[in-house]
């Protein structure tokens, strides 16, 4: 065939869309939506990965940390003493400053001259860079995206709340976002401190530290990689769901366009177009559509990602302490990948179309095809495939039960995917069976019977939309109840943990004086001093380190004991008395990773050597990625030399006036800034705000998936409108008025949607159950109770019905406006 023959044939194939633009719109929308959500999620992931890559760039050269045993920050003299002893430590100061516009910025001060590593230092740079870095006005090094957020870019002179100015800004591609690096002298001045936070040393440096110092091995620090991975896996799963739902639409649209063009295809074959040429042309058509859909999708995806990214960044920062730029940085392979996934998905959705075109029986010219017989067989195949998937789900569930709780995240998602897909596949056979049975029972109500039979007839075309709907609904229900349950639990837990009315963070040197002064105040009922430190958890033989853990010292006053959220204790023992007596409590994360439970013992490294502690209880510690061990502040001070930390203050009476008075007095007497004092209410508000942002993206994606399902439904209905006319004409001809037909149609669809939604409820609950019992534990390290929210379920069902009726309204309206002669023509044609 000549090129022009191909062109003619392709134009002939495409002419179909000129007469049926609705199908084209449906196809492109399906592709667009699928591609947009998927690429949006991938854009976020790619951007985050770029941030992590910069953060991890030199993990091979991670530095050990050298700290004073007494927890005091190292002084300049300490630093000199160590250096003069030949111990090559380097000072680092880290802190947070607040910019004039309220944005926080992490500032890190370094001494480039002593910082270990290949970087060594380069004392006398030929250019002025080093001198600029070391000397006033100094330099602030920032990731380019952080820098460009300042109006004026490199010329900006950002001012802090404290009135100080950041040193002149210079971009540095290698830095993670929202971190400012500068000379230690500049950073100390900016942070208003006189001493570094700690010292660092090259891991390979073999030195003997004086007794008063302790070295924290870099490789003992928990890598956030795995945790952020799970977050991104969550996102990816969500994006994949959207992609699948979108591809459902595409598949439906493609089947429809093929079916309507079967005659055309046969005619073309009869006119001398080869079968291979036809398949190639159809593939070319797919490719063309795919490119349009993918490109628009990717562009919208990037836009979507930009919209969601601030929330994602906030979530990651809150959950894992990972910095993420608020600007997208997309590598070239992102664009290619987005295109490939969309085209691949399209090809998957279109493969059956191509296959059918390739096997086209040209002698069947003019015969109407036996769609319904095939649909029966298809239903059987769906039921079979669905059962197989369910079987896989069960097998996976059984296998995961055997695994340690914090593993198998990916398999957990696979389990959920098979559950959802299996259920989606079972939906059409189930609906068909229900309709057949119901139609039998309605012999005496002919119109209703006809309605059900007719709905069964529509099922082949509606089934894909209904499958999309059940996926979207169950995801909505599942994620909704997970988030809702989490919120309930979290708020409850906040109430329990935030016992004090005020939290004060005094500077170390004034700690004693402030404590003494507070004790004398009439308004102060109780002080709850806390301390924090780190150590290593040893194996039972106290030989090797299993992981590094946080130590948290609390003061178990009655007010605190009453409400502290304990998850697991020994039945016949008061855990608080045990704590006083030297036992420890561990957080849920640590219990899950180590399998420790109350009554067992754990061994910790202390300055005095390994010490074994009995475990008295497990407590809930939502949002903490690390394992943590809680003991009394006194014990933490004595045994681990932990530095003084925040003090919780219980007041009476608990009024705003008292809080104001106390904070004023502290400010005047000890020169404490307002930010060293936080009241409980503000703390709760902040926590809740972060919580809401954390799940904003989940909600957004969920809502979008439901919208996609709505679009699937609408497009299916629009696409089948001409066929509907053919089915309605005889009924109309035998005397059923058009408005009755319309109302029946709305009932049919509403009924189908309700049925689907009702079936989605148990599926959604199964999903929620998998999320809280498995995915959450694997991804975040804590378990949540399963909450069921009937109100939420009702809302979702109503929403489904609403979406369906909304989608049904347009075809119904068109039917109403249809002149009767068009219905008459249906008889001519046949």
């Amino acid at each position: 065939m000549s090129l022009s023959a191909y062109r003619t044939a392709l134009l002939t194939l495409l002419s179909h869309y000129r007469r049926h633009p609705g199908q084209l719109v449906m196809l492109v929308i399906g592709l667009w939506v699928a591609s947009a959500l998927w690429s949006g999620v991938q854009a976020i992931n790619a951007s985050a990965r770029d941030s992590y890559a910069r953060a991890d760039a030199l993990f091979s050269q991670q530095l050990d940390r050298v700290e004073r045993r007494d927890g005091q920050p190292p002084s300049h003299d300490d630093f000199l003493d160590l250096r003069r002893d030949g111990i090559p430590v380097s000072p680092v100061v880290e802190g947070e400053v607040t910019l004039k516009d309220g944005q926080p910025l992490t500032v890190m001060g370094i001494d480039p001259l002593t910082l270990p590593g290949d970087a060594g230092m380069a004392a006398g740079q030929r250019s002025d860079t080093l001198t600029d870095f070391l000397r006033p006005p100094y330099r602030t090094r920032l990731a380019p995206e952080t820098l460009s957020a300042f109006p004026g870019g490199t010329n900006a002179t950002p001012e802090l709340v404290s009135g100080r100015e950041l040193p002149p800004l210079t971009p540095d591609r290698t830095l993670p976002p929202e971190l400012a690096i500068m000379d230690i002298a500049a950073a100390l001045a900016l942070l208003d401190r006189s001493e570094p936070s700690h010292l660092v040393i090259a891991p390979e440096a073999t030195v003997t530290l004086p007794d008063t110092w302790v070295r924290q091995r870099a490789d003992n620090l928990a890598a956030p990689g795995q945790l952020t991975d799970s977050f991104h896996l969550n996102l990816t799963a969500m994006g994949l769901l959207a992609l699948v739902v979108g591809l459902f639409i595409v598949h439906a649209a493609l089947s429809l366009t093929l079916e309507q063009r079967l005659g055309l295809l046969r005619t073309l074959r009869a006119l001398g177009v080869t079968g291979r040429a036809l398949v190639m042309l159809l593939a070319a058509e797919l490719l063309l559509l795919g490119l349009v859909g993918a490109l628009t999708g990717i562009v919208s995806g990037v836009w979507l990602a930009q919209w969601l990214l601030p929330d994602v960044a906030a979530s990651l920062q809150a959950l894992y302490g990972e910095r993420l730029g608020s600007e997208l940085t997309l590598p070239w392979h992102y664009w290619l990948g987005g295109l490939a996934v969309t085209l691949g998905g399209l090809l998957t959705a279109g493969a059956s179309t191509l296959w059918r075109a390739a096997r086209l029986d040209i002698l069947a010219l003019g015969q109407s095809q036996a769609w319904h017989g095939r649909f029966r067989r298809q239903l059987a195949a769906m039921a079979l495939a669905g059962s197989l998937l369910w079987l896989t789900t069960t097998a996976l569930w059984w296998w995961l039960q055997q695994q340690p709780p914090r593993q198998g995240l990916t398999l957990g998602f696979v389990m959920i995917a098979t559950l959802l897909l299996g259920s989606a596949l079972w939906l059409p056979p189930l609906l068909s069976a229900i309709l057949t049975i119901a139609a039998r029972g309605l012999r005496h109500r002919p119109l209703a019977q006809w309605g059900l039979a007719d709905l069964n007839l529509q099922l082949p075309r509606l089934s894909v939309a209904m499958m999309a709907l059940i996926l979207a609904l169950s995801a909505n229900l599942g994620v909704g109840s997970m988030v809702g349950g989490f919120r309930l639990t979290f708020l409850d837990w906040l109430d329990q943990r935030l016992v004090a009315d005020l939290y004060l963070r005094p500077p170390a040197e004034k700690h004693g004086a402030i404590t003494d002064w507070l004790t004398e105040q009439d308004a102060v009922v109780t002080l709850l001093p806390t301390r924090r430190s780190d150590t290593q958890l040893l194996d039972t033989q106290a030989r090797s380190v299993t992981q590094s853990v946080g130590l948290y010292g609390i003061t178990p006053e009655p007010q605190l004991r009453e409400r502290w959220p304990l998850l697991d204790t020994l039945a016949d023992d008061d855990p608080w008395r045990a704590l006083q007596a030297g036992a420890v409590m561990i957080n849920e994360q640590l219990a899950l990773t180590t399998g420790l439970s109350p009554g067992q013992q754990l061994t910790l490294r202390t300055p005095q050597g390994p010490v074994a502690f009995p475990v008295a209880a497990v407590y809930a510690d939502y949002g903490n990625p690390r394992g943590e061990i809680m003991l009394t502040t006194t014990r933490l001070t004595d045994q681990f030399h932990a530095p003084p930390g925040a003090i919780g203050i219980l007041l009476t009476p608990k009024g705003q006036a008292e809080i104001e008075a106390l904070s004023d007095a502290l400010g005047q007497r000890f020169g404490l800034g307002r930010d060293s004092l936080t009241d409980q209410k503000a703390l709760k508000q902040q926590s809740q705000a972060v919580f809401e942002r954390t799940f904003a993206i989940t909600r957004a994606l969920n809502g979008l998936t439901l919208a996609v399902a709505g679009i699937a439904l609408l497009t299916s209905l629009l696409a089948q409108a001409p066929q509907r006319r053919r089915q309605l004409a005889p009924v109309w001809a035998v005397g059923v008025p058009r408005h009755t037909l319309i109302v029946t149609g709305l009932f049919q669809l509403g009924g189908a949607a309700c049925l689907t939604a009702v079936l989605a409820v148990p599926l959604g609950l199964a999903l929620a159950w998998s999320l809280v019992t498995h995915i959450n534990v694997a991804a975040f390290g804590w378990r949540l109770p399963l909450h069921i929210f009937p109100g939420q379920i009702a809302t979702t069902l109503t929403l489904a019905l609403g979406v369906t009726l909304l989608a049904a309204l347009l075809p119904a309206w068109r039917l109403r406006r249809l002149p009767p002669r068009h219905l008459l023509r249906e008889f001519d044609a046949s």
Binding site: M1, L271, V273, G275
Partner: protein, 221 residues
């Protein structure tokens, strides 16, 4: 132009194999017209499909324009169809989404042998000129069949195969269409193999054969 030699074809049915053609031989010279008659289901259409290379015989050979169909692959048969054959069906098989004008030119364009003047003339003579930008569904049955004939003749085929071309038309329309068809066939020098059950339609043909129990019988005019 067309030669069938000892062609047999049977189909599998639930009641066992059904022999449709049993050793059929037939010759059709260039410019000749032949009517193939027989009751419905007697295998007329099968013979037509075989002649068009749409289907293959169980035994026997078929030559089309001096080329043996069984010696050709699918692509060659398609090309032959495109360039040398015109097909007219009872149910028209127009492309509903192309205009009248585009439908008429479709095969000629696929074969890359469109003669624009001839297409315009065909439109005129088929009485479709004023509907050139309409879609097939906006035409009457007779007009649609005329368009289908126009599509087949736009390539100036060596052989026109017509399957009950007037089967869907009323008598007057059928006469008009048939007259037009004969006129154009003679003009283009195409051979014509026309399948019909109606003696009235078979009448103007040079020859007339009847297919009966899978064998051909000559009918004297």
């Amino acid at each position: 132009m067309l030669e069938l030699r000892d062609v047999s074809k049977s189909y599998a049915t639930p009641q066992g194999p059904l022999s449709v053609l049993r050793g059929v031989s037939l010759q059709l010279a260039a410019g000749e017209s032949l009517a193939l008659m027989g009751e419905s289901g007697c295998g007329k259409s099968t013979l037509l499909h075989l002649a068009a290379g749409l289907d293959t015989p169980d035994s026997g050979r078929i030559w089309l324009a001096d080329r043996a169909l069984d010696a050709m692959n699918e692509a060659q048969r398609s090309a032959l169809r495109r360039h040398r054959l015109g097909l007219v069906f009872q149910a028209f098989h127009l492309v509903p989404t192309l205009t009248v004008s585009d439908n008429l030119r479709l095969q000629a364009r696929l074969a890359k042998q469109e003669v624009p003047d001839w297409s315009v003339e065909l439109l005129e003579r088929l009485g479709l000129a004023k509907y050139r930008d309409h879609y097939p569904e906006q035409l009457s049955g007779g007009q649609q069949q005329r368009l289908a004939i126009g599509r087949a003749l736009a390539v100036r085929p060596n052989l026109l195969l017509a399957d009950e071309p007037t089967g869907n038309l009323d008598e007057r329309n059928a006469d008009d269409v048939l007259a037009l068809l004969m006129e154009l066939v003679v003009e283009t020098g195409s051979a014509l193999l026309l399948v019909t059950h109606s003696p009235r339609v078979a009448d103007p043909m040079n020859r007339c054969l009847r297919l009966h129990h899978g064998r051909l019988e000559t009918i004297e005019p």
